[in-house]
Structure formats: C-alpha cells, structure tokens
Amino acid sequence: MTFDFSGKVVLVTGAAAGLGFACAQAFVTAGARVVITDISQAALDKAVAELQGEGGEVLGLLNDASKSADVNALLDKIVERYGRLDIAVNNAGTSSPLSDFHEVAESEFDRVLAVNLKGVWLCMQAEIRQMLKQGGGCIVNMASATSRNTYPGAAPYVTSKFAVAGLTRTVAVDYAERNIRINAICPGNVATPLVLSMVEDLSVLSAKHAMKRLGTPAEVANGVLYLASDLSSFSTGSLLEVDGGWNAI
C-alpha cells in the first residue's frame, strides 16, 4: 500500500464494475471508508460483497447520477452515516454504440449527456454543498483521453467527455480558495464493460495508444488516488492523463 486514506470517507459513483470498481478497490486497500453507487442493485450487491471480502468498510447505495433528487438523497445518506464526505470520484458514465453522426437519435444524445455530463454536474453540486459545510474536500471527475482527442463514431460520448473537462476546470477555479480541489482523470482505453460495449475488436483500440496496449483498471485507479491524495495539494483544474501516450500522437 503506497497511499494512505485511513478514516477518509470516499464516494465512487458507478462503481459496480470497470474503472469505478477498481477505484473503490484501491481506496479500500488504502484504508478508506468507501461508498459505492450504481444503477443496478444486483451488480451493486456483488461489488459490495467482493469489497467487503477484501476487508473494506463499504456501503452500497442504489443511485442514478442523472436525477437530482436521487443525488441529493445520496449525499444525505452519506452524511447521515459518516458525518462527512472527504473525497468524491464522479465516475458514473455510459456510452452509445458507434454510429455515423447523422444517424444518432436525439434520445441517444440526451441519454449519454444526462449521465456523463449532467450526472457529474449534479453530483458536484451536492458534494460541494457538503464540502463547503465541512471546510473542504477533493473531487476527481472521470474524463477521458477523448476529452482532448476524437474517436470516430462516438460523438455523444466524446462530446460529453470534452464537456466534463470544461466543467472540471471551470468549477475548480470557483472553489480553489475554499479548500476544495477539483481535477479530472483522462484514461485511455481499458477493457471495461463500457469500452467493450462500444468496440468489439480491442486490437483496434490498442493501436490508438503509443504503448500499443490497453491500460489496466488499477493503472487508472493509481491516478485517481494520486489526485485524491495530499500529494497533489497544488493541483486543481488539471487533467491527469493515464492514456498510454494516446494524447501525444
């Protein structure tokens, strides 16, 4: 264990699988009390059981990040249980099947933006209200290598991730002098359920990265923990790339 989050209260949204689960796992290993959310109760139960099996103090809460009432109730529950929220990882996200832009249904745009952008917006609002009350906190948003780069046929997803980067930087400035640090992480492709739902042939994805391989969930979690830790105390409004060199090409 290289990071120490003993006693910290950490929220990771969309954490039943993929990168969110890896982050939750890393925080558990580092001694944090971790609240995970997801939209699937079955998936949540399985993730909670696995994390508790690793000795973690974990609370699973069903939550749809795109619904403000849901998000506000989530923060109430966290504060009721632990009295505070030190770190929030706004990870819940979704994607669309790859498609020509002119054929993307309006409903797909609405659905993807609702989770990936409005969800981050709503979560940050609720989290920041609590963090202001307690005198500070730290937020890490899940952006993407496609917050700066493109991906053919993925307009809704890429649009949402560009937006998360802008939102992160803007809000970071607003709270920089109120002891709330807000940064985003920009992962390259990792073989998560979300990525597999968009692209079947992973060799295509590997070629996008200078390292010619996909990342691992743990590699992304390392970056998230760095941004959540005091090691990054002078970092706010920054985008931390963990992308195997995609961004340099």
Partner: protein
C-alpha cells in the same frame, strides 16, 4: 516506498524544485545522483543523505561531453538509471523582444532546450539497456500559456513539450515513459528573480499579482512539484507517457 533502490538522476538539483525532488525520491527509497552546474551547493545534501544513497556531479547541461560524463558518473556509482529528471533550467532576462538581445535567447534555449535534448540523448541508451525507465522533464505553466516579456523562457518551455511528445513515441519500444511536469508559480529563487525582472525592487506587488492570478491564491511549494515527479517516476504511473502534468494551483485554467 515507491522507488526502493531505483536510481534517479536529477539535473538542476541545487534549485528549489531540484532539492525537493532529491529529498522526495530519497524518502521513497531511491538512490539519487545530483547534478548541477553548482557542485558545491550539492555536497551538504549528499552528506546528509549518505554516500551509499546519493552522489553528485558537476554538469553544464549545454555541453555534450559534460552531459555524457554526468550519465557515466551515475552508472558508475549506481549501476544504471531508472528515472531521469531533466530539471535544469534558467529564466533569462525579462524584457520585450524589441529591447532584448539575441544572446539572452541563445543562452536560455541552450540550457532549457539543448540541455534537455542532450540529457535524453545520453540517458535513453542507458535506460534502453536497463530494460526501461521514466523520464520527467520540467516544463512550466509558461509551457502552455503566453506571457509578455518572457519570450525566451516561454519558448523553451513550450519546446520541451514537443520534445517530450516525440521522445515518448520513440521510447515506448524501449519501455521508457517520457512526460513533463509543469509547475505554476513556486516559491523559489527563480520566481524571485522573475519578480525582480518585472518589478525591480518591488517584488511584493508582483507577488500579489501572481497570487491573484492563481485560483488557489498562493504560490506552490517545491515539494508539491516533487510529489508529481515521484508519481511519474514510480510504477504507479505505468500507463502515463507523452503527457503534460500541470501542478499549478489552477493557473492554466
């Protein structure tokens, strides 16, 4: 410990960020070779860390033979190089292009750009032979934003981002990662010198202006930069290459 018994070579080791990097890498278990044009100022730190954990070498990073000698000194002392922090840099004189002499431009680019290139040129083969490594170049907030009266420095710090990206692409085949760390305003001799250049004798006003421009409302500490260098030097960042890592209190927003 993130870097137990790894060998770290740091140029500009006598500067504020260099010293912080030496200390942080050492705390994480690394053996550190300190390099600077000013050898005498390195010796107390080496004595403090112990001869088995640290050594120092004089280098003018603009001179190929001296850079080659520095790399050899590191491999002779510690058997290889796992992490190279290309940190040596100078700020040059403050002034408008029309009032500046080209010698100042040449001098800044020689240290900040040619010096980094020479470091890469001699370090990469050592890392390649050793099976890999991590290279961290100190760029700056000035590497991503313009600033009037700071042409040589800004140009140099932009240039090393381009150099880093190309080097990263060349080096994945050797399992070497290459990134930049971009500090915002840091409490250091260099920032005090820049303040003096902008406002001779009136540094306080300059400092207030910088603080006001920085969302966090303060200067950073050298250790806050060194922490990012440790992250990028360690295996925790194993999927990070070819990127720019801002540590700037939100300045680039």
């Amino acid at each position: 410990m993130r870097l137990k018994d790894k060998v770290v070579l740091i140029t500009g080791a006598a500067g504020a960020i260099g010293i912080a990097a030496v200390k942080r890498f050492s705390e994480e278990g690394a053996k550190v070779m300190l390099a600077d044009v000013n050898l005498e100022s390195l010796q107390p730190l080496v004595a403090q860390l112990g001869a088995d954990r640290a050594a120092c070498v004089a280098v003018d990073v603009t001179q190929p033979d001296q850079v080659e000698n520095m790399v050899r000194a590191c491999t002779d002392a510690f058997g290889g190089i796992d992490v190279f922090v290309a940190n040596a840099g100078i700020e040059g004189k403050i002034g408008e292009i029309i009032d500046s002499d080209v010698a100042n431009l040449d001098k800044v680019l020689a240290v900040n750009v040619r010096g980094v290139w020479l470091g890469l040129h001699y370090v990469i083969p050592v890392m390649k032979n050793g099976g890999g490594g991590s290279i961290i170049i100190t760029s700056s907030g000035a590497g991503v934003k313009g600033a009037a009266n700071m042409v040589p420095y800004n140009t140099s710090k932009h240039a090393v981002i381009g150099m880093m990206r190309c080097a990263a692409l060349e080096c994945t085949q050797y399992n070497i990662r290459v990134n930049t760390v971009n500090p915002g305003p840091i409490e250091s001799r260099m920032m005090r010198s820049i303040a003096e250049g902008f406002a001779p004798g009136g540094g306080d006003d300059f400092n207030q202006k910088i603080t006001a421009q920085t969302p966090m409302g303060r200067y950073g500490q050298p250790v806050e930069i060194a922490n990012m260098m440790v992250f990028l030097g360690s295996d925790e960042s194993s999927y990070c290459t070819g990127s720019v890592y801002m540590v700037d209190g939100g300045n680039a927003t």
